[in-house]
């Protein structure tokens, strides 16, 4: 309380003046007055409301409240309360936080502001005390403290390392999993540069990360390598978000680091198993070609040289034999194409989609002109995909658009590419027969066909190949379609893979 306020209070006298009393009664703050011996001579209605009791004037001493405790819960005898201390000529204690109990057992927090009243000779004639209710503030603080404790417990119990750093890259907090993962204790590492955790050949990552944070961006699931205290390396996935102060300024970053060493091992295992399987599928389909060729040629020779010696049914059977062999040949050759999709080839790793499209359209010139299809394309981007793969995507998707055209109208096929933040979305849309909603997912499966060979030829491998190529580049493929109106096949190609840039 300011000196000025105290002076104003002491001027109110002992509360016997009716004018002063009217003011005091109306005050929304609990207030009481005592004589020099501490006996209560006045209290206002706010004091009754706060303390939950009406003291007996001239009898109750020192305090208006029923029971008082210090903030730590120790009971405080009435004759040692701040008002009593002040009246006995001791120090005037201000601003302490006390807990009090009402006769009904409920409790409240308050801060007393005692002052002594003196006569012209300076002798103590009484005291006046203001009790400010701080219960709601204390409850808020307590709630915040509980929330803080809870958050702390969550952070500490997390399996992921949770670390915070300021914009200089100095570590400011470090949870238990961070200790477990990196081997440093919180005491050892807080206040030290985060670059301690970065292997020397990856130090250039930090300025890039900081630059992104300063721009207010998050870094999501960035897979990289970090170093433990003992120097060993570990594979981790980092998610880093900017931390802002109350005014919204970026003051640092929180990092969640997940140990992905095991996942990496599992991935390598799956990759190896996949390669084996691919190798198997490749050999199998390759070796199938050989006997198939004999089957085809000799059924052909049989038809050419012995037709006149065979009766009608034998010729019919021979026809089935030849059709089966031909169909199997296409299947085997498509299957070979499917097993051969791999990013791990030599040659360029980016493709100009305009060039890829031109090559595909040239190779399909025959079937396109036969169908009367009109193909419209926008200017397309250069994307991080092997040219052969992009060509296969166009070949299959445009090939399908031409094949499944509607006979009621001129086929129109549009090829477009839309640029998004992290990826390109290509769309090949047609005005063909469309696809019923229940088949939208199925069509991408291997050997999945919606039509008989008599209606539309095909092996059911084309879209599986597309699916596989797109998956190789961590993109997605899907179809939107209105049956009878047309289909739009879309696929996405990420601009970059697993990079901070």
């Amino acid at each position: 309380m300011t000196a000025q306020a105290r002076k104003a209070l002491t001027h109110l006298g002992n509360g016997s003046d009716p004018a002063s009393r009217e003011i005091l009664d109306a005050l929304p703050v609990a207030l009481y007055i005592t004589d020099a011996e501490g006996r209560l001579t006045y209290f206002n209605s706010a004091a009754v409301a706060l303390s939950g009791r009406a003291p007996e004037l001239g009898v109750d001493k020192w305090c208006v409240t029923w029971k008082i405790f210090l903030a730590d819960g120790t009971p405080l005898p009435h004759d040692q309360c701040p008002m009593a201390v002040a009246l006995k000529g001791g120090e005037i204690v201000e601003g302490i936080e006390c807990l009090a109990e009402r006769p009904d057992g409920t409790r409240f927090w308050f801060t007393p502001y005692p002052a002594v009243l003196r006569d012209s000779q300076g002798r103590i004639t009484g005291g006046i005390n203001l009790l400010v209710d701080i219960t709601s503030r204390k409850l808020e603080q307590d709630k915040a403290r509980q929330a803080g404790l809870l958050l702390g417990a969550i952070v500490d119990s997390s399996d992921d390392a949770i670390i915070s750093k300021d914009l200089n890259g100095t570590i400011t907090s470090w949870n238990k999993s961070a200790e477990r993962l990196f081997g440093y204790t919180a005491e050892e590492i807080i206040g030290r540069p985060v670059t301690l955790l970065i292997p020397p050949d990856r130090l250039e990552e930090e300025p890039r990360i900081i630059a992104r944070l300063k721009a207010g961006e998050r870094v999501d699931h960035f897979e990289t390598i970090r170093r433990r205290k003992d120097g060993t390396l570990l594979d981790i996935s980092l998610t880093i978000s900017p931390v802002r102060d109350a005014k919204g300024n970026i003051i640092g970053a929180s990092k969640i680091a997940r140990d992905i060493t095991e996942r990496r091992h599992a991935e390598a295992e799956i990759l190896r198993a996949n390669r084996d399987l691919e190798q198997f599928a490749f050999s199998a389909s390759h070796d199938l070609q050989e006997p198939l060729r004999s089957l085809k040629i000799y059924s052909e020779l049989l038809a050419r040289r012995y037709s006149d010696k065979l009766d009608g049914q034998a010729l019919e059977f021979l026809g089935y034999l030849r059709a089966g062999a031909t169909r199997m040949e296409v299947l085997v050759s498509d299957l070979l194409g499917y097993t051969r999709i791999s990013k791990h080839e030599e040659g360029p790793e980016t493709a100009d989609a305009n060039a890829a499209l031109a090559i595909v359209l040239a190779s399909m010139a025959g079937s396109i002109s036969e169908s009367g299809a009109r193909i419209v394309s926008e200017s397309l981007p250069t994307v991080p995909v092997r040219p052969a793969h992009l060509q296969q995507l166009f070949q299959n998707l445009i090939g399908n658009a031409v094949k499944y055209r509607s006979l009621e109208r001129t086929p129109e096929i549009h090829v477009t590419a839309k640029s998004q933040e992290a990826e390109w979305t290509f769309a090949i849309s047609d005005n063909g027969i469309g696809i019923a909603p229940e088949y939208k997912e199925k069509i991408f499966g291997l050997f999945k066909r919606l039509h008989t060979s008599e209606e539309y030829s095909g092996t059911g491998i084309g879209l599986a190949i597309c699916q596989r190529i797109v998956a190789e580049y961590h993109g997605r493929i899907w179809v939107d379609s209105e049956p009878g109106q047309g289909s739009t096949f879309c696929f996405t190609i990420p601009r970059t893979r697993n990079s901070v840039e």
Partner: protein
């Protein structure tokens, strides 16, 4: 000389040679070892036959076609023979492999009779003059 284990293909190669119109004796061997023995025998015995053109399958029992090819190129009498490799594979790598090991031509076995007969053009091209 034809080195081919699959009788179905032996028949087709015979028909092709016939279609090409060349009239030469044709030796047929059915596996890689038999082929290398044939060359060794020619080196030992001057009166033994020595091929002027070898039509060589790659996927052979006992000895791989490329081994047969290397053996041929190291032999004394038969080393100058022309070699046409016939294979089901059309992979660039396989093609390169046999050319690097001394084959003169590569023919991918087709699955249509008329296409198979195109092997005749290669035979006419590579059969040394005077042996027709």
């Amino acid at each position: 000389m034809v080195v081919e284990d699959n009788p179905a293909d032996v028949f087709l190669i015979r028909e092709t040679i016939e279609a090409s119109g060349v009239k030469v004796p044709v030796h047929i061997v059915r596996d890689g070892e038999e082929a290398t023995r044939f060359f060794d025998n020619a080196d030992r015995d001057d009166s033994a036959p020595c091929p002027s053109l070898v039509i060589l399958d790659i996927n052979l029992p006992k000895k791989h076609g490329v081994q047969v090819l290397r053996h041929l190129r190291r032999s004394q009498r038969c080393r100058t023979a022309s070699v046409i490799v016939v294979s089901t594979s059309n992979a660039a790598k396989d093609r390169e492999d046999v050319i690097l090991n001394g084959a003169d031509a590569f023919f991918c076995k087709p699955s249509k009779y008329d296409d198979f007969l195109k092997l005749a053009d290669l035979i006419l091209e590579w059969l040394p003059k005077g042996s027709k």
